[in-house]
Symmetry: D2
């Protein structure tokens, strides 16, 4: 949060700014590397939204997840959280943080906080959906439970719940738009699930 | 947050759902009726963002405010907050809420909470900008101070700060997109400030 | 949020400030009037926390709910939310807000926002617990469903979920303190559940 | 957020749980090591609250900061944020996160998100105060500006603003309690600023 004012002398070379496309790619690659596919997240979204939506297909949910992954807040949260998981796996955090992250300590909370930062941008429906997913560990979120002992996923399970909650909220808002036109997801080509994601410069 | 499941019997007539266009119009009308123009909010945005943006014009800021006012979260916050101000003016709230809202009591907090609900959807930059505006009361926000005795604006001053903060955040994100293309607001037609607001079904 | 500076001339009579005890009583009375007992909320807390806590009794949960109800943020949220429910029942809100609140419209969100304002003060565990309760409608929350047609409880169901989530989070933190002393709730007299609530001037 | 259920087999040794006292000490030590004294934070609090409080002394503000630093949410946020700053200084983060943190990139946002996690627990006054401090960089916050080139403090400046905002909010609530008894900070011994911090098991 330090935008340079016009004409302000800057100690950093502007060219150091990381291009958005690089950040987007890095966030998606990090998910893949940690074993979480977009489809696995989309399946959670489908499970959450199918009861309310005639004609909803997994393809709509995949589109919705893809559009969520285009958001800067979401990408930054993924990069930070996954970095901390990986550093904890390599025992590279200093104590006592290493032990806290390592054991996915019940009252830690920073994992949920970082995940919530992204969730908030999708409104209060996303917040309640996140809480539900975080408690009930549907789908791939369950496999990521650090307590199961296969690697450290203290941040990742919350981040996946966050992306799924955001994508669910996006579907719920879209449902309402369709309803007003007397339509359902049956009439909607998947690529129109989150139409803003096809517009250059949109957020 | 009670979406009907498919096939669920609903005690309410579906046709009772208020069309989005009605809500949008009602929120904008409420602002006008309470003496706040879109231009007045845009002036705050301009004051916040001009130091960081070559070529930014008031017209860009007006477009950004307009796009914020298209969001459901923002519209609902405006409708509830302004309703409570008006009811307090008419002495129609029950005690002790009437006295609390009437006197814009320092530790009340629900006014900021409702305003923050909308702010969160524009990310953490919007949150810090909101805090700044709420403390420093720039432009029209200052005129709305309930303590000045002309009507009750306990909720409205926070809501205006909220819309201005959201629109500022939208501009800051747009700046970054332009930068990556080697452009500034000088090259941007105002109607492209928030391109998603021209797309049907976008949020 | 308008504290008077020292020496500032104030258009309002200081004596108009509502005493804290009046606000506390009003918030609790409002809950009772709307059919929600402290015990009913405590039962939700018990259901959420008993699986993790040897020796937890309903009496501990009642103490925890009582301590949550001492917080200003919680009291203000209750006063505003219940006021809006009651005004909607009396058809005293202006349109389209009347119809939106009346029908507990799925994408409204201000009900959750107001409830979340209180939840945030109890940390991220409270946020996820709130989301879970909001989706799964345990205990008295289920009876309050506006869609069942007995009065309007659009705000109240979220507020009850909020108080229950806060009280659950308070128990979870207390568990940890006890654990460090090698104790459980078995050893804890209920009145020591939230020891700060017995201290004058504590928050 | 993985409390073990009663009787659940746990792959981790319970004794691995980090004692609260260790976490508290680590968080305070980390602040000191990064050049931020409790007194420096208290000076910000004094600057924010003195205009509203007759008889407020720096000693009250120090007590308030100390009480904030007793909170788990605050301690965990400090540990994570400072860890990331230090790792960035040592060039030990992976790209592109290293460059983003290194340059305190304007739209990053995770720094504010982590800081806000603690702020939320002190209510909406703390949120607006945080926004104000984050924009206006009062006192030691200004010295920490990463752009000045002396080390990486991308997270720390927001964390200090967070602690100062929380401590300011604590003072504002205390003021109200005193007012109701016809007192001011003139009559308050500093050690009674946050009375709950002297109670074992309080939060």
């Amino acid at each position: 949060m330090r935008p340079e004012k016009k004409g302000e002398i800057d100690m950093f070379d502007h060219s150091r700014k990381v291009p958005s496309a690089t950040v987007t790619k890095a966030a998606k690659d990090a998910l893949t590397r940690r074993g979480v596919s977009i489809e696995a997240i989309a399946k959670i979204v489908y499970e959450m939204q199918a009861p309310y939506n005639d004609g909803l297909k997994l393809a709509h949910c995949i589109e919705s997840v893809e559009s969520v992954l285009e958001k800067r807040e979401v990408q930054h949260a993924l990069l930070v959280g996954i970095e901390l998981d990986v550093l904890a796996e390599k025992k590279m955090l200093s104590e006592p943080l290493q032990s806290i992250v390592d054991s996915d300590e019940g009252l830690f909370g920073v994992d949920e906080t970082i995940a919530l930062g992204a969730v908030y941008t999708y409104g209060s429906i996303a917040v309640t959906t996140f809480g539900h997913l975080d408690k009930n560990k549907i789908g791939v979120i369950n496999h990521l439970d650090t307590k199961k002992g296969i690697g450290v996923h203290t941040f990742l399970d919350d981040l996946v719940a966050s992306v799924a909650a955001c994508a669910s909220s996006r579907i719920a808002h879209r449902t309402r738009d369709l309803e007003e036109k007397g339509e359902t997801f049956k009439q909607l080509p998947p690529e129109d699930t989150a139409p803003e994601s096809n517009v250059d410069g949109a957020q």
